[in-house]
Symmetry: C2
Subunit: 385 residues, 2 copies
């Protein structure tokens, strides 16, 4: 690679907050981004060279994106692997990570099977297409169990807990499609590792502790407040997961830490992930810069942590969909070592991810305080209803 | 202030590398930038919302910029303070820093007089409009002396050393306009302090050591390898300088450290400055983020240093103007804790600032090594002739 005025250029399918933060990371490197997103003026639009307005599965848009750029990537799992494959073949523009890997990950049952075959520890699971199959599976897995739509779920959508046999019919009706069921993991902690495949190299970021409520990520703590053995095990398993992936890029690898210091794989995202947002301030290289370096085939950056770091999501707190106007950000800006990230979304609704706050600390023993500080800042933000 | 999808918005006169780095810093804050620059596809264009193509002194362009944004600022001293004042009055859009301060700084003689009056220590100087006046002044100041054009100079352009009486005529002819002459300071070190005026608050970044060759900044080292007393004195003088400035924003304050641990003011820039580029990775808040926070009137960020940090400018190394194609950046990207910043300029010529490299260290006693490391990386980059 070289640097010239105009390149390298990356086409990104999806222009939400991940696309926006990819754009922020690409600019210093001299890498130019074009995004494709169906929403005009998507969050990424103001910080990238151009936006093509078109659906994630719209092949003509993806083809135009490929013709204008040196390499394609995606920031959303709704991208269509078949369309990406055809476009790559037709235009010669490579896609990273590989569409085949996206296809594997999109179907949670296929994903789990593939990982289990590779020796990655996963919760017990079964594919279930009917209430009878679900009931049968739960006899083996026990109640409660977690029923998941095989495709299309995110942020907890498409996941239905099944407490007992009396809930089987309703749960299956709720999913209304091909599903899988998993044993409910009684975890000690949820962890995440951002892994990265580069051109002939691979690396992981420090293990993150993730705190969910209603299955939506609320806060991240890095390094995770887990023992060293657990963190090493998490990293080893993340490397095993990377071995199953094809192509280049960053992967969000979500894990459960069990009460006996074990690790079970929860889910994978073939892209930068909410649990790695803290790396922007917390690491020498952010997950977004790392993804850009990887997809253009340049050397990966240093993934070491600079300071203990926490982040908290800013979520929509009003029931109805409205124009987004947030108050209270002055307290965030006035707080030492606090960083505001605003995604520029026009509308807010209940639990929509609108931005995040990151705080860096100076004492690894003080992550509890750092976490309560960032929560307090986040809780001070309100949207006008 | 609040955060909504579209604001606050800042109009920037100038869209060079400083505008580009302002855009990179504004995006996470949710602040949108529009720049005005005469060069289509200027360096800032790919990372900001929009560019108006128009001259720095073109009042209709500046008026359009003001009408589209909440506040105006400038990243180049060639901005026209009269036009800015008229536009501010006509549109109600404030300008930061104040046009009056820009006017003072644009004229080096007026700048020095104003600072000397305020008690800021400056080298001995005289205003000179003719060869006779220059000869007379040099009798008092001694040879060698430094003749400077009162307006329009940058990166050493407009500065002419005068070794003895025989060079007076030629030096004056070279400047060809209103000038000032200064005693030649026999400095120990050159220093710079980035200062910032916010809304009712002010702050300074850690003192930087700046290394020039041919009067162009080559490398910066932070914290400066000067004694603590000197660094404190530099900071105090920077605060005195800020007292003379009007409006909000970041100021680059260039200083001489004399052999007796004294400080003399060299020059001021009413904007983010090359000597503060290291703050992007080196400080909790960068000079660019700080400038954005200041001009929109939000709280200033934490200016503390995170790690010892050096940066080196990537300058054009070929005699003729050509399309910019640089080789060797892979070594920079593959080096631990090294960061590439590429400005996206289409053309390269001798000594043009094309980008910079920043490296952070982990040991304050090791700044010499860090400096030689960053120089080696920079020297490995070449432009195709």
């Amino acid at each position: 690679m070289t640097r010239s005025a105009s390149g390298p250029t990356v086409g990104v399918v999806g222009g939400g907050q991940l696309g926006r933060m990819l754009g922020e990371a690409a600019a210093p490197l001299g890498v130019e981004l074009v995004v494709a997103d169906p929403t005009p003026d998507c969050p990424a639009a103001p910080v990238v060279c151009d936006q093509l307005v078109g659906g994630f599965e719209d092949e003509s848009t993806i083809r135009e994106l490929a013709e204008r750029t040196d390499v394609l990537t995606f920031e959303i799992e709704l991208a269509d692997p078949d369309a990406l494959e055809r476009v790559a073949e037709g235009t010669g523009t490579p896609v990273h990570p590989a569409p085949e890997t996206l296809r594997t990950i999109q179907d949670k049952l296929v994903q789990k099977r593939r990982l289990a075959e590779a020796g990655v520890p996963v919760p017990e699971f079964r594919g279930v297409d009917t209430a009878d199959e679900l009931r049968e599976a739960c006899v083996e897995l026990g109640y409660p169990a977690m029923l998941k739509a095989r495709t299309g779920g995110y942020d907890g959508r498409g996941n239905v807990p099944v407490a007992g046999p009396e809930e089987v019919e309703a749960a299956m009706a709720d999913i209304a499609g091909p599903a899988m069921v998993e044993e409910m993991v009684d975890f000690e902690r949820e962890l995440a590792v951002m892994g990265c495949l580069g051109d002939g190299e691979r690396d992981t970021f420090p293990v993150t502790e993730t705190i969910h409520r209603e299955e939506i990520l609320r806060e991240s703590v890095a390094p995770a407040r887990a023992g060293e053995t657990v963190r090493e095990r998490a990293r080893d398993i993340a490397l095993d997961v990377l071995d199953v992936m094809d192509g280049r890029g960053v992967f969000g690898i979500e894990l459960f830490e069990t009460s006996d210091d074990g690790i079970l794989l929860n889910e994978i995202a073939p892209r930068p992930h909410n649990s790695g947002h803290w790396t922007i301030e917390g690491c020498h290289t952010s997950q977004f810069e790392q993804h850009i370096r990887a997809v253009v085939g340049e050397p990966l950056g240093t993934t070491g942590i600079r300071d203990p770091t926490v982040s908290a999501n800013i979520l929509g707190d009003i029931a109805e969909r409205r124009d987004a106007v947030m108050d209270g950000e002055e307290d965030v800006l006035a707080t030492e070592r606090a960083h505001l990230h605003w995604y520029g979304k026009r509308e807010v609704y209940e639990l929509r991810k609108m931005g995040h706050i990151t705080m860096t600390g100076d004492d690894p023993d003080n992550r509890d305080t750092l976490l309560s500080d960032v929560r307090e800042l986040r809780d001070g933000l309100t949207f006008r209803g």
